[in-house]
């Protein structure tokens, strides 16, 4: 426990240091957040335009879809804000920076995460939380403390699921296998298919998105529970799955780390 707290304290310290460094490029930070927000904004604009003509998508109204979209986006932002610098892993391994992480008495993953924060993902977070707030008021939901608490747990669970896939793919770079293009694709699947009711995909794809790449559990299942479309017992599956997957992903990371071969002999 003391070790975890120490890692957390040092992570915050590294992150603050990188933020101080990045302050010299303040304009880039602002532009990064803005472009993140606009990117997600146009994504939702599509739904809004469609639902202007057709009020229902597989039985979901605009407010309900917006809630689903917001939930997924917020989970995505929470997953990527701390993990964004892990995206650079291939480069970090190649230029030997990773060696240095192994020479310091702190978990190398924590050091890698501390390299920089996901800036554009703050834009995602803003759009996601805004959508959640607006949609939460407009959808026919009887809010109470438990339901709000559940939303928080569900967001964290969704973030863990996405983070697990991301981390597992990144860890392959420790063995010089560049999975960048594959990560972009998986991220695409999560962001494109995760924001709609699974029902519209039907059959095999719905099954794939539920059991193979469990996109459904990031936002669809939790939103269905909140919106009263799915029974209570399903509620905890998503967060539990998130915990299981992130543990699994970390084990994969550890295993790949044991095979780390550094560069240049």
């Amino acid at each position: 426990m003391a070790e975890v707290l120490r890692a957390l304290r040092l992570y915050v310290m590294l992150q603050r240091a990188s933020a101080r460094g990045a302050m010299q490029y303040r304009m880039n930070t602002v532009i990064g957040i803005l472009s993140g927000a606009i990117w997600q904004g146009t994504g939702f604009a599509f739904i809004w335009v469609v639902m202007h003509t057709f009020p229902s998508l597989a039985g979901w109204g605009l407010a309900e879809i917006a809630f689903l979209y917001g939930l997924r986006l917020t989970a995505h932002a929470l997953a990527m804000i701390p993990l964004m610098s892990v995206n650079d892993i291939h480069w970090v391994v190649r230029n030997g920076e990773f060696d240095r992480f192994l020479l310091r008495p702190l978990n190398p993953l924590v050091q890698l995460m501390g390299n920089r924060m996901g800036i554009a993902q703050f834009g995602d977070l803003i759009v996601g939380v805004t959508l959640l707030a607006v949609a939460g008021r407009n959808a026919a939901v009887q809010w109470n403390v438990w339901l709000i608490a559940f939303c928080f747990i569900a967001i964290v669970g969704g973030a863990l699921i996405e983070a697990a896939f991301f981390l597992a793919l990144c860890s392959l770079s420790l063995r010089m296998v560049d999975t960048f293009a594959l990560r972009v694709f998986v991220d695409d699947i999560f962001s494109k298919f995760g924001s709609y009711p699974m029902k519209i995909f039907g059959g095999a794809v719905e099954w794939l998105l539920t059991f193979v790449v469990p996109v459904a559990f990031v936002a669809y299942v939790p939103s269905s529970v909140v919106l009263g479309k799915l029974d209570g017992p399903w509620a905890l599956v998503a967060p539990l799955l998130g915990v299981v997957l992130i543990v699994l992903a970390y084990l994969i990371w550890r295993r790949q780390l044991d095979h780390y071969q550094s560069v240049g002999h």
Binding site: I31, V50, L57, D188, K199
Partner: protein
């Protein structure tokens, strides 16, 4: 330059292949969404579901084809100073860059070829209602796309940094090109804006001609030619300023 652009497209084929997979996923997603919202309705905004799906499939293929990377290349070459080699060549700078983009598009098309059947299978397509009209409007639309991309890139001669601007441009242009929703569905003010902007010629107009939603192409073609002429003038003017700036300041 054309050859370089072509080779670059082939060199990054693993990226392009991933983009192709993403394209298939996108078309599938759109098909499912639209099939779901149409439900049992026969038609909406003058489009049957079949025509709409054909439209979307085409529009997304077109978005892939009219995607321009010339801004990024120009930006890189300005930053690394390579631009001076380009300027030293006896062929006009803009023509070199346009040639580069054309080559890159050709390379992309070559790689896209095997994917097209998959896309058509996942999406859906009908026989073209007006094949010739489609090709004409699309080619003119492509010219507009390249002109706009060049214009955006020239900003780099003043600001040295166009990453954000070109990202923004890509998002806005794709949205208003009607890649995900036909312009006919755009409500009120948004519809007016989309009508005025030139982005519709890269996506909506050719695809709508194909599925027969637009039957008379003379109007669009005239407007497209007018855009091309106007943009050409603007490009020449902007370039002469940018060029002078490079010469005076030495980058």
């Amino acid at each position: 330059m054309t050859r370089i652009g072509f080779r670059l497209a082939l060199a990054y084929r693993s990226n392009i292949i991933m983009t192709c997979v993403a394209l298939v996923a996108q078309v599938f997603l759109l098909r499912m969404i639209w099939t779901s919202v149409y439900g049992s309705r026969p038609a909406a905004a003058g489009l049957t579901l079949d025509a709409l799906l054909a439209y979307l499939t085409l529009a997304n293929l077109q978005a892939f084809v009219t995607h321009t990377i010339v801004s990024r290349i120009i930006h890189d070459r300005i930053r690394t100073g390579m631009v001076f080699f380009d300027l030293a060549r006896p062929v006009g700078y803009l023509r070199q860059m346009a040639g580069f983009q054309a080559g890159n598009t050709l390379g992309g098309l070559l790689l896209l070829a095997p994917v097209i059947p998959v896309v058509l299978l996942v999406g859906s397509i009908t026989v073209p209602v007006n094949g010739a009209g489609y090709v004409i409007t699309l080619v003119l639309g492509y010219v507009i796309a390249v002109q706009l991309a060049l214009l955006i890139s020239l900003i780099g001669f003043w600001t040295m940094e166009i990453g954000a601007v070109s990202l923004l441009y890509r998002l806005v242009s794709q949205f208003f090109a009607g890649t995900m929703v036909p312009l006919a569905f755009f409500p009120g003010f948004l519809g007016v804006v989309a009508e005025i902007l030139p982005f519709k010629y890269m996506g909506y107009v050719p695809a709508a001609v194909y599925v027969g939603h637009i039957s008379d192409i003379s109007g669009p073609v005239v407007v497209e030619l007018a855009w091309i002429a106007g943009l050409w003038g603007l490009l020449v003017l902007t370039w002469s300023r940018a060029h002078r700036r490079v010469v005076i300041q030495g980058g």
